[in-house]
């Protein structure tokens, strides 16, 4: 089996690890790098539980070759909190009961953060569109939409 060195930036910090041939980014981040926040849901690009950002754009880590992020910037939910201070979105998810089992939450948060970074005042429809690639089987989405809108409308301090 060929192993390829991959040097990339993870949540602002330079990291290097070996990727196996054909290994996807999700498996690489979890087993190779130790960032357990991206979740394995379907492995088919359908559920969004493995959503990460690559150079600021949301992508599905299960459908990205690990070696393809060499030289690129990867962002995960692990990069949202600043030390002990939660990202306003994380706080809002807690305040609005936007997580039940929590499995979709890291992916939801990455999608929501990417939305607010490029559009700080989204409409409800824009929020729905932004999380349309992230499945949640618990909440029925309403608490998640409410939590994101609360941050956008400044009801949760950013």
């Amino acid at each position: 089996m060929t192993r390829k060195p991959v040097t990339f930036t993870l949540n602002g910090q330079s990291r290097s690890a070996f990727a196996e041939d054909g290994q996807n980014l999700l498996d690489f981040l979890r087993r190779g790098v130790g960032d357990m926040t991206p979740k394995f849901g379907c492995g088919q690009g359908t559920c969004g539980a493995c959503t990460v950002t690559i150079d600021g754009q949301t992508q599905l880590a299960c459908l990205v070759l690990a070696e393809a992020v060499d030289g690129h910037e990867v962002g995960t939910a692990a990069g949202l909190a600043d030390g002990g201070t939660l990202d306003p979105l994380q706080q809002s998810f807690m305040d609005h009961f936007a997580a039940q089992c929590g499995y979709c939450s890291p992916g939801m948060l990455v999608s929501a953060r990417a939305l607010l970074d490029r559009n700080p005042r989204p409409t409800r429809d824009e929020v729905i569109e932004a999380i349309s690639g992230n499945l949640c089987r618990c909440t029925g989405y309403e608490p998640i939409i409410t939590a994101i809108l609360a941050v956008a409308e400044g009801r949760i301090r950013a």
Partner: protein, 267 residues
């Protein structure tokens, strides 16, 4: 076990193809198989950023094979394709999925390819200067070779091209069917009508019955009804988890009517 080979240029990759190799564009299709342990023995990819360029010259626009759906949506010259690209996958998939990759998407995917077929887009192969009709690629995708870019001509006016995707889940759902209609008019009459259904067969297919009903006519209620009645002529839609062949056949004319009505009412 999949071995990944990365090349600098598409031409180098083309020389490495053959046998059991599969080319990877955005990865949204190929990586699913890799994750299931059913990936190809050799996966070929190219790092050339030139494959992600969009070039316009007058009404003719050339999309690099690796242009993503999100990049289509970000490009002002491609406004006529925005209603199509917006309905492909979810936001993450649109950041990954490529225009050329969509030509190879198996049923029920391939909605962008349906639009390209309706627009009579042309495909430029690796290392080639001439372009082939996209219909040729869709007819025999296994022998298409590597694709460098896709040429598409902007529709004459905003009434000339329409697209609809029918899915049960919104805003992100897989196609029960998609419909792309290119109806350029000359002196008020439709000339060279092209109506294409996605997810109504193994690849996007032209609805020749509907096209005949529209050709040379003006878009009014009677003509739309004729087109709808002939919508599935010659088509043999599949049954899958999303819809039965019977259902697809029953509703195809309804959805075509809605799309044509909407196009007719545009100003």
């Amino acid at each position: 076990m999949t071995i990944v080979e990365t090349y600098r240029t598409l031409e180098e990759a083309a020389r490495a193809m053959g046998g059991d190799a599969v080319y990877m564009g955005g990865g949204t299709l190929v990586m699913r198989a890799v994750n299931e342990g059913a990936g190809p023995p050799r996966l070929i990819r190219v790092g050339d950023p030139g494959l992600r360029q969009v070039r316009s010259s007058g009404d003719r626009i050339t999309l690099g094979a690796g242009v993503t759906m999100a990049e289509v949506l970000a490009h002002r010259d491609l406004a006529f394709l925005h209603p199509v690209a917006r309905l492909i996958g979810g936001p993450q998939v649109r950041n990954m999925a490529t225009v050329a990759g969509n030509l190879f998407a198996a049923h029920p995917y391939g909605d962008f390819a349906a639009a390209l077929l309706a627009l009579d887009a042309r495909v430029i192969g690796a290392g080639q200067t001439g372009a082939r009709p996209v219909a040729e690629i869709l007819r025999d995708r296994g022998r298409a070779g590597l694709i460098a870019g896709i040429e598409v001509t902007r529709p004459r006016d905003r009434r000339a091209f329409g697209f609809a995707k029918v899915s049960r889940v919104k805003p992100k759902g897989v196609s029960v069917m998609s419909i792309a209609a290119h109806l350029p008019r000359e002196s008020g009459r439709i000339r060279d009508a092209r109506v294409v259904f996605g997810a109504m067969g193994a690849t996007p297919l032209r609805a020749s019955g509907a096209e005949r009903a529209l050709e040379g006519r003006t878009l009014d209620a009677a003509v739309i009804a004729d087109a709808a009645a002939a919508a599935t002529e010659g088509l043999d839609p599949p049954t899958d988890a999303l819809a039965s062949a019977w259902y697809r056949r029953e509703v195809a004319g309804v959805h075509l009517t809605r799309l044509l009505n909407e196009m007719e009412q545009r100003r």
